[in-house]
C-alpha cells in the first residue's frame, strides 16, 4: 500500500507457509483440473517465484540482502498482471497481504531506480506529459463526445460525472462504448456531465507499475478537480479507473463524491424501472469479471495499528484491521443487468467473481510482456468457449481489448462485447457484431 516499505511487511513475508494456495482458486471452488489454476504468472512460467507466495519470498530475500536485482528477478516481479487472485486465495485462509507486498516490491524497484521497465517508461512519460496513457495530445481527450449532447461538468452543475478514462476516450475502437454509455444513462434520465479534454488519467498504470510519486500526483490533481465540481457521484465504465478511484484515492486525499461503476448504476436503473428493454438478444453469453471491478474494488481502509500477540502467539492487529478478501467486490450488479436483458442466457465459467481468472492485460503486463498477456487471454478464452457461449461479455476496456486479441489469436468463434453494448441493443439502439 502507498508509502509502505518491505520492512513494514517483514512479518507477513516470513509467515508465508509456501502452501501454494495462491496458485489455485480458494480450494473449495476447484471444479476441474483444466481450470484449476488462478494465477496467470505461474500458469505460464511455472517456477514457484512467479506465484504470489514466491514474490513474497523474493521481497523477504531482498529485504534481508540475500539477493540483488537482476534482469531475471525483475522479470519475475513484472511478469504479473497484479490481478490479485493470489491475494484472495491466500486470504481465504490467512491474514496476510500478498498483493500489498507485491505492490511494495514494485514500488521498491522504482525507488531503487531499477524500474519502471523500458517498456513501461513511455506510458508513464505520457501520463506526465499528456495526462493520458496513450501518448495523445490533451485536446484529443474529449473528441469521443463531440457529437453528443452532454453537459460539460466544468460549466454546468450535474448530479453525476461520467469519467470516461483514457482508453474509452482515446482508442478509436473503444470510443463507441463511451458514447453508448452516455446515451444509455441519459435515456434513463441520469443528469450526466463529462470533463472532455480536461479529464486527466486516473493514475492506475503508475500505481500498478510501482511509481507511487506519479500516482499520488495524478490522484491529487484528479481529486481536487473532481471535488471542485460538486457532483454527487462519479461513474466510470472502465474497471481500471473504477478500481483506483474507489479504492486508492481515499489513501491520498478525501473526496466529496461517491464512485460507482456503470454496472452498479445500470443495476440501480433497472431496479427502478428506468430502463425498459424491448429487443431480445437471443444469445448465450458468458461474463468475465474484471479484476478491478470485482475482487480489487473493495475500498481500502487505511490501518495504522500495531501487531499484537495474545494467547502467547496468536497474532492480531490492534486496532482490528479490516482485511480486503474480495468479499464485497462488484459481482452481482453486472449479473443483475444481464439477467434483465430479454432473450439472454448467462452461462458461467468455472472461475468467476472473486476467483475470476484475469484477462492478462493489467499491471503493465500487456506493454512489457505481450506474449504473457496473450497467453493469459487465450486461457480465459478457452474457458469461455468451454461454456458453449457465443459471446464473451465484460465491463472493462483492457479486458475487452486483450480478450479480443485472445479470441483472434485462437481463431475462436466467440464474439466479445461490453455489457453496455448489450444494454444498448436491448433498448433498441445499435447493432451487435
Amino acid at each position: 500500500m502507498l508509502g509502505k516499505t518491505l520492512e513494514d511487511y517483514e512479518k507477513d513475508m516470513t509467515r508465508c507457509a509456501r502452501c501454494s494456495l495462491c496458485k489455485w482458486p480458494p480450494l473449495a471452488q476447484v471444479k476441474s483440473i483444466r481450470y484449476s489454476q488462478v494465477c496467470p504468472a505461474i500458469s505460464k512460467y511455472n517456477f514457484h517465484s512467479y506465484s504470489g507466495g514466491g514474490k513474497m519470498i523474493i521481497g523477504l530475500s531482498k529485504l534481508r540482502g540475500r539477493v540483488d536485482y537482476s534482469e531475471e528477478m525483475l522479470n519475475v516481479i513484472y511478469r504479473c498482471s497484479v490481478c490479485g487472485a493470489c491475494d484472495i486465495s491466500c486470504k481465504y485462509s490467512r491474514d496476510l497481504e500478498p498483493l500489498e507486498i507485491l505492490h511494495t516490491l514494485r514500488a521498491t524497484c522504482v525507488k531503487d531506480g531499477v524500474a519502471p521497465l523500458p517498456a513501461h517508461r513511455p506510458i508513464l512519460d505520457s501520463m506526465r506529459n499528456y495526462d493520458n496513457v496513450w501518448q495523445q495530445p490533451r485536446k484529443k481527450k474529449g473528441s469521443w463526445a463531440k457529437k453528443l449532447d452532454v453537459k460539460n461538468a466544468k460549466e454546468q452543475p450535474v448530479d453525476t460525472l461520467y469519467f470516461a478514462g483514457c482508453t474509452y476516450s482515446l482508442r478509436p475502437e473503444m470510443q463507441g462504448i463511451a458514447r453508448t454509455t452516455v446515451e444509455v444513462l441519459q435515456s434513463a434520465g441520469v443528469d450526466l456531465g463529462i470533463l472532455g479534454e480536461e479529464e486527466l488519467c486516473c493514475g492506475s498504470p503508475a500505481y500498478t507499475i510501482g511509481d507511487e510519486e506519479l500516482f499520488v500526483e495524478n490522484a491529487r490533481k484528479n481529486i481536487k478537480a473532481l471535488n471542485s465540481l460538486g457532483v454527487r457521484r462519479v461513474v466510470t465504465s472502465c474497471a481500471g479507473c473504477f478500481g483506483v478511484l474507489k479504492t486508492k484515492y481515499p489513501l491520498v486525499e478525501p473526496a466529496n463524491f461517491e464512485v460507482v461503476n456503470v454496472t452498479e448504476l445500470l443495476a440501480e436503473l433497472v431496479e427502478q424501472g428506468r430502463l425498459s428493454f424491448s429487443r431480445p438478444l437471443d444469445r448465450t453469453i458468458t461474463y468475465h469479471d474484471p479484476c478491478h471491478l470485482g475482487r480489487q474494488s473493495e475500498t481500502y481502509k487505511p490501518w495504522h495499528g500495531v501487531e499484537r500477540k495474545v494467547l502467547n502467539h496468536l497474532v492480531i492487529q490492534d486496532p482490528p484491521k479490516e482485511f480486503n478478501r474480495g468479499t464485497y467486490g462488484v459481482y452481482e450488479a453486472p449479473r443483475k443487468v444481464l439477467a434483465a436483458l430479454p432473450g439472454l442466457e448467462l452461462t458461467e465459467m468455472e472461475r468467476i467473481r472473486e476467483f475470476s481468472f484475469c484477462c492478462g492485460s493489467g499491471g503493465g503486463a500487456k506493454s512489457a510482456f505481450p506474449e504473457f498477456a496473450l497467453a493469459t487471454a487465450r486461457e480465459r478464452v478457452d474457458e469461455a468457449e468451454s461454456t458453449g457461449a457465443e459471446m464473451l461479455v465484460t465491463a472493462c476496456p483492457w479486458c475487452e481489448s486483450n480478450l479480443s486479441e485472445g479470441i483472434a489469436d485462437a481463431g475462436s468463434r466467440l464474439k466479445s462485447a461490453s455489457i453496455i453494448e448489450l444494454v444498448s441493443y436491448a433498448l433498441g439502439g445499435g447493432e451487435l457484431s
Binding site: L27, A28, F47, H48
Partner: protein, 603 residues
C-alpha cells in the same frame, strides 16, 4: 557450484525456460515451512539450480547426470515443507510442477493414474464427476497425491471410508536413485495399474516403509491411487463468497458434530462407528483450530475463543454420512443415533433440517455450561451471544455452519486456515498409526506435554487441548497427532518449539504410544530405532543398496553414519536434546559427506 557446462546440459534436457540459477528464484525454493526449526533460519540451503522436467525421460536424464557429476538432488511436487529441500546448499532441485496430468481415471476398476503435481482438489473434482472420490490427506487438497502416497504419510478425515494415502498406492513408476526406471506392481507385468503387488516386484514397503523417504529415494513420476464410491452429486453446490463458502448437503448425506462426556465415550463411539461401517468421514478436530476454521480472522477467533467456552469442547467428533439411497441413509442415521445414545453423546450441530438445529444447539450449550463451570459460563456467554447474534444478523445460521463443516470435511479445503492463520506456523508430533484407544492416550499425553510448553511461552495457548485424530479402514487403526501453533517470525518460538517435539517423541517411547507420524530423518531414527529392533540398519541398508553414491538427498530420510552417531550420544546420555540444528553440525563433521559411498558400514 554448478559448472556452466553442466547447467547447459540441464537446459538441454528440460529446455532453457525450465532451468534456472537465478538466486532470487532459487530462494523461493530454499524458503520453506518449518525451515526455521531445522536450520534456525527461514531458508534451507539454497539449491545450485532448479529444473522443471516435463516427463519421466527428462527426470531420468537429470538423475543420471547428477550421478555422473556427483550432484545431490531432490524432487518436490507441490513442495510444501522443509523436507523438500536440503539443510546444505548446492543441491539440484527438481520441481515437478510441469508433470501435472491426470493420466487416467479407470472408473470400472476404481483407480486414477496421476503425475506428481496432481493435487487432491483436482482429482476429487474429476472423480466426483464419475461418481467416485479419492482420499485427501490432512495436509489439505492443495497437496500432491503422489507425494502423499509414495513419500510421506497422508492421513485425512475420510480415512474411515477411504483408507489413507500410502494404503491407496497401487502401481507406480519410479526413477531409482541411479536413474534406472522401475515400474512396480502389476504395472511391471501387465501395464495395468490396479495393484501395487505382483505379479512383478512389490516394493511398496521398500520405497516408503512406515513414514516414507520424504524425497530422499529417487523420484516417483507416476502412480495409481485407489478411488472410492461417491454417493453424492457430480459437483457440490456451493454458496457464499470467500472466505465464507458453504455446500448444500445433498440428499441422503448428513454431517454431525457430536460432543461427549469424556475420553472413554469418545473412544467407544469411534470404535463402534468404525465397526458399523456407516461413516464417510470421522474426525476429531481440536477446538481451537475448529473455531479458527469457522471464523474469518484471528481477531474474530480471539473474540470467540476468549469466551472460554470452546476450550471445553475437547471431547467431540465430526461425522459425515453419505448413502446411495434413502433406505441406506436411514440405516446409517439410525445406527449413528443409536451409538450416540449408547455413548452419551450430544449432537452440537447437524445438517438435517428443521427445528432440531436449535434444539441441538441448546443441548450442546447446556453440556458446555456443565463442562466449563458456571463462573466461566457467566463470563463467556455474553461474548458467545454477541458473536452468534452478529452471525445470525449476517445470515449465518447454524444451518450454514453445518454446510460449511460439510464442505470442509468433504473437500479438505480449510486446513491451511486452521493451522497457519493463528500463529503463522505449526508443527505436529506423535500421531503414530495405532488403535483408536491408543490414539486417545496420545491425546491425553500430548495435552500434558503441550501445556508445559505453553506455560513456557513457546507455543500459542490454544487451551492445550489436542489430538487431531481420525480412524482408517473402518477403524482397523487410527492416528491422533499433536498439533502446536507457533510464530515462525519470533525467535522465542524458533528457539523453543523443537523442544516440544523432542518431549512428545520421548513420551511416545516412554509410554509405548506408537512411533510419531514424522518418524523419519536421523534424529527420529536415533530415538526410535533402538526400541524397534534397530530398524535403521534395515532402512539404511535399502538406501545404500539403491543409492550407493548417496546422491538422492536424504537429510530427512536416513544417513547411517549420522543416525549411529546420534544413537551413541543418546546412549551416553548427552544426546537427548539434540535437534536438527545439531544434526547439521554432526553432518559437517562426518567423514562421509553426502555424495560419497563412505556412509556404508564397514564390511
Amino acid at each position: 557450484m554448478l559448472s556452466d557446462d553442466v547447467f547447459l546440459e540441464l537446459q538441454g534436457i528440460v529446455g532453457a525456460d525450465n532451468a534456472t540459477r537465478e538466486p532470487a528464484i532459487l530462494d523461493t525454493y530454499a524458503f520453506q515451512y518449518i525451515a526455521e526449526l531445522i536450520v534456525g533460519d527461514n531458508y534451507m540451503g539454497r539449491p545450485c539450480a532448479v529444473v522443471m522436467p516435463g516427463g519421466t525421460e527428462e527426470v531420468q536424464a537429470i538423475v543420471r547426470l547428477c550421478n555422473r557429476e556427483s550432484i545431490p538432488y531432490k524432487a518436490i511436487s507441490t513442495g510444501w515443507g522443509a523436507y523438500g529441500g536440503s539443510p546444505a546448499p548446492g543441491m539440484l532441485q527438481l520441481d515437478l510442477r510441469r508433470m501435472n496430468r491426470i493420466l487416467q481415471i479407470d472408473a470400472d476398476n476404481m483407480y486414477a493414474v496421476v503425475e506428481p503435481y496432481v493435487v487432491g482438489a483436482t482429482l476429487q473434482a474429476e472423480a466426483m464427476g464419475l461418481g467416485l472420490n479419492c482420499h485427501i490427506a490432512g495436509s489439505g487438497a492443495n497437496t500432491s497425491l503422489l507425494a502423499s502416497a509414495t513419500s510421506v504419510m497422508g492421513q485425512g478425515a475420510t480415512g474411515v471410508f477411504t483408507g489413507f494415502s500410502n494404503r491407496n498406492l497401487l502401481g507406480f513408476e519410479w526413477v531409482m536413485p541411479d536413474g534406472e526406471l522401475l515400474r512396480v506392481g502389476c504395472l511391471q507385468d501387465s501395464g495395468e495399474w490396479f495393484t501395487g503387488d505382483g505379479p512383478g516386484p512389490s516394493l511398496r514397503g521398500v520405497i516408503r516403509g512406515f513414514a516414507g523417504a520424504f524425497g530422499g529415494f529417487g523420484v516417483f513420476t507416476k502412480c495409481a491411487v485407489k478411488l472410492y464410491p461417491w454417493y453424492g452429486p457430480r459437483a457440490l453446490e456451493l454458496t457464499g463468497v470467500s472466505p465464507d463458502y458453504e455446500a448444500t448437503v445433498p440428499e441422503n448425506h448428513a454431517v454431525y458434530l457430536i460432543s461427549f462426556r469424556g475420553w472413554q465415550d469418545m473412544k467407544d463411539f469411534g470404535n463402534m462407528v468404525g465397526e458399523a461401517e456407516i461413516a464417510f468421514a470421522l474426525i476429531h478436530t481440536p477446538a481451537a483450530p475448529a473455531v479458527v476454521g469457522v471464523t474469518r480472522s484471528n481477531k474474530e477467533f480471539h473474540d470467540l475463543w476468549k469466551s472460554g467456552l470452546f476450550e471445553h469442547m475437547k471431547y467431540s467428533l465430526e461425522v459425515v454420512l453419505t448413502a446411495g439411497n434413502a433406505e441406506e441413509f436411514t440405516y446409517q442415521r439410525d445406527v449413528l443415533e443409536d451409538v450416540i445414545k449408547w455413548t452419551g453423546g450430544k449432537v452440537a450441530l447437524c445438517s438435517i433440517t428443521g427445528p432440531r438445529y436449535y434444539m441441538d444447539l441448546a443441548v450442546a450449550l447446556s453440556r458446555l455450561v456443565r463442562q466449563a463451570g458456571i463462573k466461566k459460563t457467566l463470563r463467556g456467554t455474553p461474548a458467545l451471544l454477541t458473536y452468534m447474534a452478529t452471525e445470525w444478523r449476517n445470515g449465518r445460521t447454524p444451518a450454514l455452519f453445518a454446510k460449511a463443516l460439510y464442505l470442509g470435511l468433504i473437500k479438505q479445503c480449510l486446513q491451511a486456515r486452521c493451522v497457519f492463520r493463528p500463529g503463522g506456523s505449526f508443527w505436529t508430533s506423535m500421531g503414530g498409526l495405532t488403535s483408536w484407544d491408543c490414539c486417545i492416550e496420545n491425546a491425553i499425553e500430548g495435552e500434558r506435554i503441550k501445556r508445559g510448553w505453553i506455560e513456557k511461552g513457546i507455543l500459542m495457548d490454544d487451551g492445550a487441548e489436542q489430538g487431531w485424530g481420525m480412524l482408517y479402514e473402518s477403524g482397523a487403526y487410527a492416528h491422533c497427532e499433536e498439533v502446536a501453533f507457533y510464530d515462525q517470525s519470533d525467535p522465542v518460538c524458533v528457539e523453543g518449539s523443537m523442544g516440544y517435539v523432542t518431549d512428545t517423541v520421548k513420551a511416545t517411547i516412554d509410554k509405548h504410544l506408537a512411533m510419531s507420524l514424522n518418524a523419519t530423518g536421523d534424529p527420529f531414527h536415533a530415538w526410535y530405532s533402538p526400541h524397534v529392533m534397530n530398524y535403521h540398519h534395515h532402512v539404511a541398508g535399502i538406501k545404500e543398496e539403491f543409492d550407493p553414491a548417496n546422491l538422492s538427498e536424504a537429510s530427512t530420510y536416513i544417513n547411517r553414519g549420522i543416525t549411529e552417531t546420534l544413537i551413541k550420544l543418546i546412549e551416553e546420555g548427552g544426546g537427548e536434546n539434540l535437534d536438527f540444528k545439531d544434526i547439521l553440525t554432526l553432518a559437517d563433521n562426518e567423514e562421509a559427506p553426502a555424495g560419497t559411498d563412505a556412509g556404508r558400514p564397514a564390511e
